[in-house]
Point group: C2
DNA sequence: ATGAAAGCGCTAACAC
DNA sequence: GTGTTAGCGCTTTCAT
């Protein structure tokens, strides 16, 4: 039923080797035979057996994508699924398949990274890992010594020597800084910040950016101005509702929410309290997910260049796989971009004491 | 560097066959040797070469998931990505990998279904296909004669003889019916419906359910009460804003939006016009995506049993792959469930003429 | 320019 | 209970 090169060889009256060479466009075979074989293969509906091929060449034509476990969570997936789409798009263009996996099997605890590499199911790895615990040094060593091409993306891989890995990431510190600076520039002095629980690097870095911007502008950094939540809409909503007294007492006018979802929740909460945005409060989000355009006022936010991340990451991985420019590591920090929309506004000083 | 069964055989002083048998838990080998071999394999960090294995057994341990192309679009992915998560979860439990793919490569136009099957990259296929154009009869025949196990999910596969395929889907007609009936039961007489452009079966079926419910309750079906949009928040928003005059003129009080996202947009639009929900308008959505809980009032909606779909679909596919109960097709229509929350309310008849 | 043959790592008859 | 061997479908030396 399935047609193999052997079948083609038989029918064409040539050897398997010639068929293989022809279909792989080897220059060693006469143009004429090559053409004949190709056409024959085509009419016979031939397709390489990927397993046989991989066994022989050690190339599978599939890329492994390692996602943080909480990808499964709803809110988190909004930004990531957009990034993933871009990655898929690129790989599709190259005719590559992809296997998406968590670092570990959640049931057996087995390392999917190790498994995928050892079982030779993939040609390379794209890794988004939030922190040290998820991809530990042992695994990292394993990948390294297996010589599997891999690229880290999205965050700065702070848990390892950046000189020793390929990584494409955005400047989360800078993003946090810019968001805060924007509020400061608009005259806001009392700015709170909503970040995420946990040790995910991106949030730690955004918060550092927030602090730095305040300090650079001689505004005291107050630890109780940093609220930890769950990076989704309801968490943003809840933090604001519960702490509204605090917000009023402290004369807060600027709010930096470290995810757009939180920012949306913040806006909802303020609206529900009869407040107006940006007249009463200025809000800055983070991510620039598509969803924000569905809400009024349109959110001022930090755009992450997802498409660029995807393109650069995939291109780099392909270089590694194809063995070009793989003598030295590539390390790119992409700038985020402040997108000013409608949720931020110059503070009205005339009303101040 | 990589350790193979040959290495183990050499070190253990047995043949490759014995090693293979041991690691595959064959009853043909003595318990003692088996144990010894297993431990050895373990300490040596052995892992089967998936390609060699697949070549020999024709089993790959990976499942292909075919998604509609517009999975890439943001709004659409909210429901589907939740479904996909559930599927992944099940497959993870079984130690299976998955390759997610569109029906065709968007660049080359090549059929990914054919390619994945012919190249023997997958053991079975999970197919979510919106309509006839995406998975045409030729491909269907191809799958069939390739004997690749496959299960359709999410929609009723109306383009083929349902008796001849395995399919797990929800009752979109029933869902549309229940949503509408709920509004009718609450006393609403003038009910509009927001559906999606295109020929996606799920929406056609939901609209049919809407019509049937009206007819069954002696309410005239008016074609201009059905609005076509893009299944996202802004589309819902726009339809309501643009047609608010129509809504008022026609005394509309009930709105059935065929996606939750549209429903959210509807609520926003009405709010922005100073209307109150559910006092002025009752809204019913569809899907029961997680996002709806982030909005007030909480949306009354049609819950789709995604987890059940995922579990049943995957279980069935595994049966097919393992050759159990594969003599007759399985065809399950799951019921949706009306979830009554805060966006619907009995119509206040005292105000009526 | 083409063919023969070995080998990739594993499984499964078939022998013993 | 274990070993030998052929074979899965392809690539790639090495011959010719």
């Amino acid at each position: 039923m399935t047609v193999t090169i052997k079948d083609i060889a038989r029918i064409a009256g040539v050897s398997k080797a010639t068929v293989s060479r022809s279909l792989n466009d080897s220059p060693l075979v006469a143009e004429e035979t090559k053409k004949r074989i190709k056409e024959l293969a085509d009419t016979m509906g031939f397709q390489f057996n990927a397993n046989a091929r991989s066994l022989s060449t050690s190339r599978t034509g599939t890329i492994g994508i390692i996602y943080p476990e909480r990808f499964g969570e709803f809110g988190v997936s909004l930004y990531y699924s957009s990034l993933l789409s871009q990655i898929r798009d690129f790989l599709e263009k190259e005719g590559l398949d992809n296997i998406v996996s968590f670092p570990k099997n959640r049931y057996t605890g087995e390392s999917n990274i190790k498994r995928l590499i050892q079982s030779k199911k993939i040609d390379g790895l794209l890794i988004i890992h939030p922190n040290i615990t998820d991809v530990d040094q042992r695994i990292l060593n394993f990948i390294e010594q297996s010589k599997t091409p891999y690229v880290f993306l999205h965050h700065f891989p702070s848990f390892c020597d950046i000189e020793k890995v390929d990584a494409i990431y955005t400047d989360h510190f800078g993003g946090g800084y810019d968001a805060t600076k924007h509020l400061i520039d608009l005259g806001h002095k009392n700015i709170i910040c909503l970040t995420s629980h946990g040790d995910s690097m991106e949030f730690i870095q955004r918060t550092e950016g927030y602090r730095a911007a305040l300090m650079d502008n001689d505004i005291a950094v107050k630890e109780d101005f940093v609220f930890k939540g769950y990076r989704d809409i309801s968490s943003g909503y809840e933090i604001i509702s519960k702490n509204f007294g605090f917000i009023v007492e402290n004369n807060i006018t600027g709010i930096f929410a470290q995810t757009d979802l939180m920012a949306i929740g913040v806006m909802q909460a303020l609206k529900d309290m009869g407040k107006s945005i940006p007249d009463d409060y200025s809000i800055v989000g983070y991510d620039d997910i598509e969803l924000v355009m569905d809400f009024r006022p349109h959110l001022t936010t930090i755009h992450q260049p997802r498409e660029e991340i995807a393109v650069l990451t995939c291109s780099r991985l392909l270089e590694l796989i194809n063995g070009v420019n793989n003598n030295k590591k590539v390390n790119i920090r992409l700038n985020t971009k402040l997108i000013i929309r409608e949720s931020t506004k110059r503070v009205d000083n005339s009303l101040e004491g």
